[in-house]
């Protein structure tokens, strides 16, 4: 087995950052078995470059297997005699981010599963509370309902006011994508928008008029209104203010993509309902904590080739909303897109994953 290879492993374990191609050897403690894959070792080098991974994390990276389909664990070029069979050895520095991300998301998934705090017991339902149901924009409706329930205001009841939550269409599309990313059941953002465009139909939960019409037919519902002004929500819900953390901050495209990939990896360890719950309670707060102070990270931007369709769809939604006669809290024009934001420099999903891995240096291995 390659002494140089094991020496590089030792170098990386000690926090070294020298790339494999320029590593000229050093002290090694050759171990039994096989060298860790190039993907794992390069990820460790990136972690070392970005910070100081804990010894626990270092060992987890070295022993990791990447979940899901992709290239197998690759050998380091020049680390051993040439083999007649198997994939070609590689220079790990040339591996695409996606290969390192597979390893990183597997590690993040186990971290999410193992470090989840126990769920908070909801307080007893308040005796006098407004009967409500939140539907529409899932990024707001689902967590806000959960937060209100925990605060003693569970939804439901005969005659409940149904609040169909909405926003401008690009924002709602980004939130539907982020919500589905938690469930791991969505393609990357550009493909998601392309699919919505190809179907020429809004996602069910943000087709606000359809949602309102469906709710009208449900037994036990009271007044159905569309809410486009989030500031009006506390009053409509009979609360002085919304519970803290009730509405998670919007995800950037990189954060949504990382969430999507971690969700798939988490699905290997827990059932689907647990998966969404864990990601909401553990991953989203960690992502939020990573965000720098200042303005929130930009939401995913609709690619230029789909903007005409989004504008047309928003105009149709606005027209239907006005014609339908449902009470609207806020300006019905609030569903229309604002000026399109320019595509900023894309944030690296791998960098985000590396920062998240480093964020908890005291993490405990299983």
């Amino acid at each position: 087995m390659s002494e140089r290879g094991w020496a590089w492993v030792e170098h990386l374990r000690r926090g070294g950052t020298t790339p494999w191609a320029s590593f000229d050897g050093g002290p090694s403690a050759a171990e039994d078995g096989y060298l860790p894959g190039a993907q794992q070792l390069e990820l460790l080098r990136r972690l070392n470059l970005a910070g100081s991974p804990s010894p626990d994390l270092v060992e987890r990276v070295v022993r990791a297997s990447a979940p899901g389909r992709g290239r197998p664990d690759l050998e380091l070029v020049g680390a051993g005699p040439e083999r007649r069979f198997g994939p070609r050895p590689v220079d790990p520095a040339t591996l695409p981010d996606a290969e390192l991300l597979r390893v990183a998301t597997g590690l993040l998934a186990t971290s999410v599963v193992r470090t989840a705090p126990a769920p908070v017991e909801p307080r007893r339902p308040r005796r006098w509370r407004t009967r409500y149901e939140l539907v529409g924009d899932p990024w707001v409706a689902t967590p806000l309902t959960a937060a209100l329930t925990a605060d003693g205001r569970p939804p439901g009841g005969v005659g409940r006011a149904v609040l169909v939550l909405g926003a401008d269409l690009p924002t709602m599309l980004a939130r539907v994508w982020a919500d589905r990313a938690l469930r791991g059941s969505v393609p990357p953002w550009p493909e998601f928008v392309a699919r919505v465009h190809a179907r020429d139909r809004l996602p069910r939960r943000v087709d606000l008029v359809e949602v309102a019409a469906r709710q009208r037919t449900v037994a036990g519902t009271g007044r159905v209104s569309v809410v486009l002004d989030p500031a009006a929500l506390p009053g409509l819900l009979g609360a002085r203010s919304l519970p803290p953390g009730g509405v998670p901050p919007d995800l950037s495209e990189a954060a949504g993509e990382l969430t999507r990939q971690v969700a798939t990896a988490v699905s290997l360890h827990v059932t689907p309902p647990e998966q969404t719950d864990l990601l909401e309670r553990v991953l989203l707060p960690r992502l939020a904590a990573l965000a720098p102070a200042g303005p929130p990270a930009p939401r995913p931007v609709v690619p230029p080739e789909h903007r005409d369709w989004v504008e047309d769809a928003a105009a149709r939604l606005h027209r239907d909303l006005v014609r339908s006669g449902y009470p609207v809290v806020g300006d019905p024009g609030g569903v229309l897109p604002g000026p399109w934001e320019a595509h900023g420099a894309p944030q690296s999903v791998l960098d985000l994953a590396v920062r998240l891995l480093l964020e908890r240096p005291s993490e405990v291995t299983a």
Binding site: Y34, G68, R71, P72, P87, A198, R199, A219
Partner: protein, 403 residues
């Protein structure tokens, strides 16, 4: 502690489904012979493999959580011989293989035997493309061949193909800690032979000779598709992939269309390796044969089987099919979908009648005059700030919050 574990790790398309079906249907007979095939459901070992290898599989992975550890625990607790079989195990990484062998008692007194069934690439390459198409792939046969022939194997297709098909490499990964006499390579006979020959080889490798197994009811194989049928499926994938979720694709496209309809069209031309690729494949087969012989594994069958059949005389290119054949396959597909739709419509009508009955009962319960009056008043009050304040006061006085 198991005395012996026989671990059959692939490769795909070598009669593995048949072997697993025989083992599954004969669990009790095997148990009487002191052999454990630990499975509560027919796909138990598939789930265990997904769990071991951390593979998402269209949502099925949630049913696989903990499945490998459960299987390994049952094997360890059994006093005799245990058999584990699934072909996707072929792609396991060295770390996963190390974990698997340790969990089965390797190095702790259990004798682990590896079984790898292998088939010539002349048949495996088109079969793998077809399997990809049955799993939503849209790429042409030519593109598939390009990815498989790319020495970098950097794509999803290329890395998976060689991960489950490169015989010496699979044997190297899985057999690294095993003596060569505990590694058994079962070759699939050339096409056209008696189907019993392959089973006899499996029976020998898995130590089943003499066990009175019932082979009559086992399902022989995954049904395969012809050239126009595979082309049709690929075109369907292009149209539906964006809109049909995996949970619907599986029963509708793979099962209803591919397996239950299109695979029954047996007279259309069969998929084959392009004649121009035969020299390349022959070279690979020769190197594999030489390597397997050199390592001294136990070969059940004949390594010459790996050479494969000579090129077909009339090659039907699935990327340029005869459109009339594709159209006829399409008509059969439409017929199946119409009949299935008719069946579903009848189901919907029946269920709608039940829903109407239930809704009527619910509405009657809400239809008393006093309820209607209270609801109208409530809705009016909810519409204004003064009304909502009044309602809150009323609730407080009344002691509950519904009107």
């Amino acid at each position: 502690m198991s005395e012996r574990v026989l671990l059959h790790v692939g490769t795909p398309k070598t009669g593995t489904s048949y072997v697993q079906d025989v083992l599954w249907r004969n669990r009790e007979v095997l148990a009487e012979a002191g052999i454990l095939y630990a499975a509560e459901r027919f796909d138990a070992h598939f789930l265990a493999a997904l769990d071991l290898m951390e593979l998402p599989w269209g949502g099925l992975q949630s049913e696989a959580i903990g499945a490998w550890d459960d299987l390994a625990a049952r094997v360890r607790a059994f006093d005799g011989t245990a058999i584990i079989s699934h072909e996707i195990l072929a792609t396991a990484s060295r770390a996963q293989i190390g974990r698997a062998l340790a969990s089965l008692g390797h190095g702790d007194g259990t004798e682990v035997h590896l079984v790898l069934s292998v088939r010539d690439l002349v048949r495996q390459i088109p079969a793998e493309w077809q399997e990809n198409v049955k799993h939503r792939a849209q790429l042409s046969f030519a593109d598939f061949l390009d990815e498989v022939r790319d020495p970098e194997r950097a794509t999803r297709i290329g890395s998976w193909f060689w991960g489950v098909q490169e015989v010496p490499e699979i044997l190297d990964r899985w057999g690294q800690d095993l003596p060569p006499e505990h590694v058994h390579v079962v070759t699939v006979p050339p096409p056209g032979g008696a189907p019993e020959v392959l089973w006899k080889r499996f029976s020998q490798a898995l130590g089943l000779d003499g066990v009175p197994l019932d082979l009559e009811q086992a399902e022989r194989a995954n049904p395969s598709l012809g050239v126009p049928e595979t082309t049709l499926l690929r075109r369907i994938n292009k149209r539906v992939n964006a809109e049909l979720p995996p949970a619907d694709y599986r029963p509708l496209v793979r099962e209803l269309l591919a397996h239950q309809t299109l695979s029954r069209r047996r007279r259309s031309p069969r998929l084959a390796l392009p004649p121009a690729l035969h020299p390349w494949v022959s070279q690979i087969a020769a190197s594999w044969t030489e390597e397997v012989e050199r390592r001294g594994y136990d070969v059940v069958g004949d390594l010459a089987d790996l050479a494969g059949a000579p090129p077909v005389e009339q090659y039907a290119d699935p990327d340029h099919p005869r459109e009339r054949q594709v159209a006829l396959a399409g008509v059969d597909a439409i017929k199946t979908l119409l009949l299935d739709d008719a069946r579903l419509r009848h189901d919907v009508e029946r269920l709608q009648a039940e829903v109407d009955d239930l809704r009527g009962a619910l509405e009657r319960a809400y239809a008393t005059p006093s309820y209607r009056l209270r609801r109208a008043l409530y809705l009016r009050l909810e519409g204004s700030l003064l009304g909502r304040t009044t309602l809150r006061g009323y609730r407080r006085l009344r002691g509950r919050s519904t009107p």
